[in-house]
C-alpha cells in the first residue's frame, strides 16, 4: 500500500523503547520459583496423588513451581544475573512464601 497521506505508516514504539536488535546481544535468564519448604503445596500434592493413582507407585513427594525465562539485552552475565535477581525479589517471587534461583544462559 503506498503510504497514504495522513496515515502513520508504523505502529509507534511502546513504553519503554528497546535497543535495535544489532546493538542488543541477547542473554537469557531463567528464574525458577518454588514454594519454600514447609509451605503447603496443594498443587504438588494433587499432582503426586494423580500420579500415584495412575499407577506410578515410585512417585513420592512432588513440588510444583514456576519457571520464567527472560530475554535480556545485556552483555555481561554477572550484570544480567544481578538484574534478574532484583526482578525476582521485586516481582517474580513472593519471598514470604517462595524461594527463587536464577541461572544465566547465553
Amino acid at each position: 500500500m503506498p503510504a497514504k497521506a495522513g496515515i502513520p505508516s508504523l505502529p509507534r514504539p511502546r513504553s519503554p523503547p528497546r535497543l535495535p536488535a544489532h546493538e542488543s546481544p541477547l542473554m537469557k535468564a531463567i528464574v525458577t520459583v518454588m514454594l519454600k519448604n514447609g509451605v503447603l503445596d496443594p498443587q504438588g500434592k494433587a499432582i503426586g496423588q494423580a500420579l500415584n493413582n495412575l499407577g506410578y507407585a515410585q512417585v513420592g513427594e512432588v513440588r510444583a513451581g514456576k519457571i520464567i525465562e527472560l530475554e535480556l539485552t545485556e552483555t555481561d552475565p554477572a550484570a544480567a544475573k544481578a538484574a534478574a535477581e532484583e526482578m525476582a525479589k521485586k516481582l517474580l517471587a513472593n519471598t514470604v512464601i517462595e524461594s527463587f534461583k536464577v541461572e544465566i544462559a547465553a
Binding site: P42, Q43, A46, K90, L91, N94, I97
Partner: protein, 221 residues
Amino acid sequence: MMKAAILLFPGINRERDMQLAVRQSFGHEPAIVWHKETGLPAGTDLVIIPGGFSFGDYLRCGAMAAQSPIMQAVKTHAARGGYVLGVCNGFQILTEAGILPGALLRNAGLRFLSMDTMLRVGRTDTVFTNKWAEGDVFRAPMAHGDGNFTADSATLDRLEGENLVAFRYADGNRNGSARDIAGIFAPNLRVLGLMPHPENLVDPLMGGTDGKPLFDALAAA
C-alpha cells in the same frame, strides 16, 4: 462523612459492585482512581481495592498490581493512619504490597470457589465492624481461586494474640486458609483485607443485606 476512593487496576472487575455498595451506604459517589496515578484525590479518608483479576493474576494474584504507581500513595496513606479496605484481589494486593502480612495461595482443592459462606466477626471496636456484635455470623458470597491464607506460625500467633483476625469462616473452611482466617486487620485496625464479598449482599434483591453493616459502619465513621 468518609471520602472514599476506589482503585482501578487493569483486570479489576468488582469496582462497580463496590461503587454500588458505597453509594448506597455513603449517599455519594466514591472517586475512581486509575492505577497509574501517583497520588490519591485530596482528602481521601478510605481507599478501597476491589476484587477481580488485576493484570490477569497471571504471575501471582495481586503481584503486579502491588507494583503499580498508585500503591506508593496507598502505602503512605496507610502509614499515616488512613483507612484501607481490600476485598478478594484487593486483599491479595495488600499482602503482596506488604501492607498486610501473609499470602494467599491457591485454594486447597485447586478449584475456583463461588458460593456463599458464613463469616464470624472478630472484634467489633473497629471502624469496619462496629455495626456487628462480637461473634455475629453473617453471609457473604465468595468468588476466588486463591483464598488460602497462609503465614508462618509466628505471624499467625501474633495475628491471633493481638486480636487482628477480622473474620473467620464459620461454616467450613473450603479454601484451606490457616486457622480458618477469612480476613485480617493491620495492627492499627485501620486496614482490613478479606476474601469474601460483603459488597455483593447489600440489597434484598441480591439475596440479602448481610454485607451492608460493613459499609454502614464506614459511612458513619
